[in-house]
């Protein structure tokens, strides 16, 4: 499978080219990076079919045999996340076309964005621990710089907080990798999984699990570790906050957590219980903090914490149905949260403020933004025909089926709170009496409208992923996590 490294090489080369030429040629960074993201999206969509047919695709770097050399692996879960990353990246870049003009030195933004994309794709395709760590760092360092891109005082403060927390998390993960290497003498994930299954060592696995859990919870901003997220996500430029909230916390936090715990270390009941508690805590506290916010982006950031709580809670239930629900919710959340962030950015661009109390009546002036954010808000709070309903329904149904009825009731209540704060957002921003300076509100550019409309359409139709014909995409991803042995053997034995 020759094309797998291109997921990393293409954005990396684009970042280099933009840094080299972007300063001299006008409009070159914008056009090149949007084109690159589109090519990557097409490539990942094109890979779905072979993955579903063959199960696992492996690329061996330099032709070295598997446990020794570095290999890149794409299986059902990887391709699921790859499609998600490149879809959101393409749409946010499309949006950035109209948005980014207010900054100077635009080429730096695009160069960093491409580096972040390379890092994210790399995390998903790499199959050994050390490359995994390197790509994790590439993505995170690019993200720290992007958060500080506006260099206002708040941006710098948020970026510093994010950088300290993020690098702390990376160091915990690196220490965990070191301990695993000392025991298994191998860095290949499938090989390590086999060795750990052969001679289990409870104390060592327990210690490493704690290190990884702290690291990935910091990256995913689960509740005791969430302090950096609202600052970073609300201070970043809008396309970046959409990318951070929609993709980065999921790839660096949730995907890595799922991959390492479910496929490599193996899950125990204790670990699942811890995940469930973390999920419930994030769900409840995120929702409660979101409802008292007055800043739109900050409200969405807290809402991200709450929705990540749903995903981790569903992973913690651990039944195949719950894992399916978790992955489906991951997809839906990426789509509607980036839609909502892009709309918050559009409101800020048009009216000059993010404070809900100062906004009002914008539906007349910004009809596209108003209707698309209504779709996003309905989807995130689980109104039936939209995608968000189906994923939440699966999660709650799985919780009841597994016997956690009280937790299921909490999940339903949190869903109602979610509806409440999105209704607050809609009423204050789009309905109600017109704001002060209503005459000064200007309409947003075409590229911003196009990106939000596409996202809203995906929101409406994402429930169709459960239909026959399309469901293989979701089911092959869920299978990787619910049958861990499958990954170990297929990744090692695949041609």
């Amino acid at each position: 499978m020759k094309f797998i490294p291109f997921f990393v090489i293409i954005p990396l080369a684009a970042a280099f080219l933009i840094a080299l030429l972007g300063k001299w040629i006008r409009r070159f960074p914008e056009i090149l990076s949007t084109l690159i993201a589109f090519v990557l999206l097409a490539l990942s969509l094109n890979t779905i079919k072979p993955v579903i047919r063959f199960g696992t695709l492996v690329y061996k770097m330099g032709g070295w045999p598997q446990p020794l050399g570095i290999s890149l692996v794409i299986d059902g879960l990887s391709i699921f996340v790859l499609v998600l990353i490149n879809l959101i990246a393409f749409l946010t870049l499309l949006y950035a076309f109209g948005y980014i003009k207010k900054f100077t030195e635009v080429w730096k933004f695009y160069s960093l964005f491409m580096l972040m994309l390379a890092g994210l794709n790399g995390v998903v395709v790499s199959a050994d621990f050390f490359n995994f760590y390197i790509f994790l760092e590439v993505a995170s360092i690019a993200a720290y710089c992007l958060v500080a891109f506006g260099i206002a005082a708040e941006d710098l403060e948020a970026a510093f907080k994010y950088a300290v927390m993020g690098s702390l998390a990376s160091l915990f993960i690196l220490l965990g990798i070191g301990i695993i290497y000392s025991y298994a003498s191998s860095l290949n994930m499938a090989d390590v999984a086999l060795i750990l299954a052969d001679k289990p060592n409870v104390i060592l696995i327990g210690f490493v699990s704690v290190l990884f859990l702290v690291g990935f919870s910091l990256k995913a901003a689960l509740v005791p570790f969430h302090a950096w997220l609202p600052d970073a996500h609300s201070s970043a430029p809008t396309p970046v906050s959409a990318m951070l909230s929609g993709v980065v916390i999921k790839v660096l936090g949730v995907y890595t957590l799922a991959r390492i715990f479910f496929n490599v270390l193996g899950v125990s009941n204790k670990l699942l219980f811890v995940l469930m508690i973390l999920g419930i805590l994030s769900m409840v506290i995120g929702a409660i903090l979101a409802i008292i916010q007055n800043d739109t982006k900050r409200m969405f950031a807290y809402s991200s914490i709450s929705q990540i709580g749903y995903i981790v809670f569903a992973l913690g239930i651990g039944t195949p149905l719950a894992i399916l629900g978790a992955l489906f919710h991951l997809f839906n959340h990426a789509v509607f949260k980036s839609l909502l962030f892009l709309n918050a950015g559009a409101i800020e661009e048009a009216s000059g403020t993010r404070q809900l109390s100062k906004l009002g009546g914008l539906n007349v002036k910004l009809p596209v933004t108003g209707w698309t954010s209504l779709v996003g808000a309905m989807s995130i709070s689980g109104i039936p025909p939209l995608g968000g309903f189906w994923s939440k329904f699966i999660i709650i149904f799985a919780a009841v089926q597994a016997g956690y009825i009280s937790f299921a009731i909490i999940a339903v209540i949190v869903s109602i709170i979610t509806l409440a704060y999105y209704l607050k957002f809609q009423t204050f921003a789009f309905w109600g009496k017109p704001m002060v300076n209503f005459g000064l509100v200007k309409d947003i550019t075409f590229s911003m409208k196009l990106a939000t409309v596409i996202l809203a359409l995906i929101c409406i139709f994402s429930g169709l992923l459960l239909c026959p014909g399309l469901k293989d995409f979701l089911y092959s991803a869920a299978n990787v996590l619910s049958s861990p042995l499958n990954y170990k053997f297929s990744a090692l034995l695949a041609p």
Partner: protein, 110 residues
């Protein structure tokens, strides 16, 4: 020796968590990173081992593990990039706020 690494890691963690000065937090991050690097080096170390270089006329009996060394080189480079980012952020923060004290750099709340 491994125990000393762990102590060094904890010193760095304490420094990041408890200190109020931005520069001291950055130094704490540096200490943690060196602790992890030292841990990797110790993993590959064998007493009286020699470098694992293949040559025709000698047989190598006792050699150190080369993989952790390669890993540490890469980690140092990543750490350098991280330090550059964090220190330049600190410089910019000093320009904007006029202080390194994190209790005074609190414009984001809620």
């Amino acid at each position: 020796m491994y125990f000393l690494c762990l102590i060094l890691f904890c010193i760095g963690l304490y420094c990041v968590a408890r200190k109020r000065n931005i520069i001291k937090i950055i130094i704490g991050l540096g200490i943690m990173e060196y602790a992890v690097n030292l841990f990797f080096i110790l993993l590959g170390y064998r007493t009286q081992g020699r470098a694992p270089i293949l040559s025709k006329n000698q047989e190598i009996l006792n050699m150190v593990d080369p993989l952790p060394q390669a890993i540490v080189l890469t980690t140092i480079v990543i750490g350098l990039a991280l330090m550059a980012v964090v220190v330049s952020l600190a410089v910019r923060i000093y320009e904007k706020y006029g202080t390194f004290d994190i209790t005074k750099i609190r414009r984001l709340r809620g």
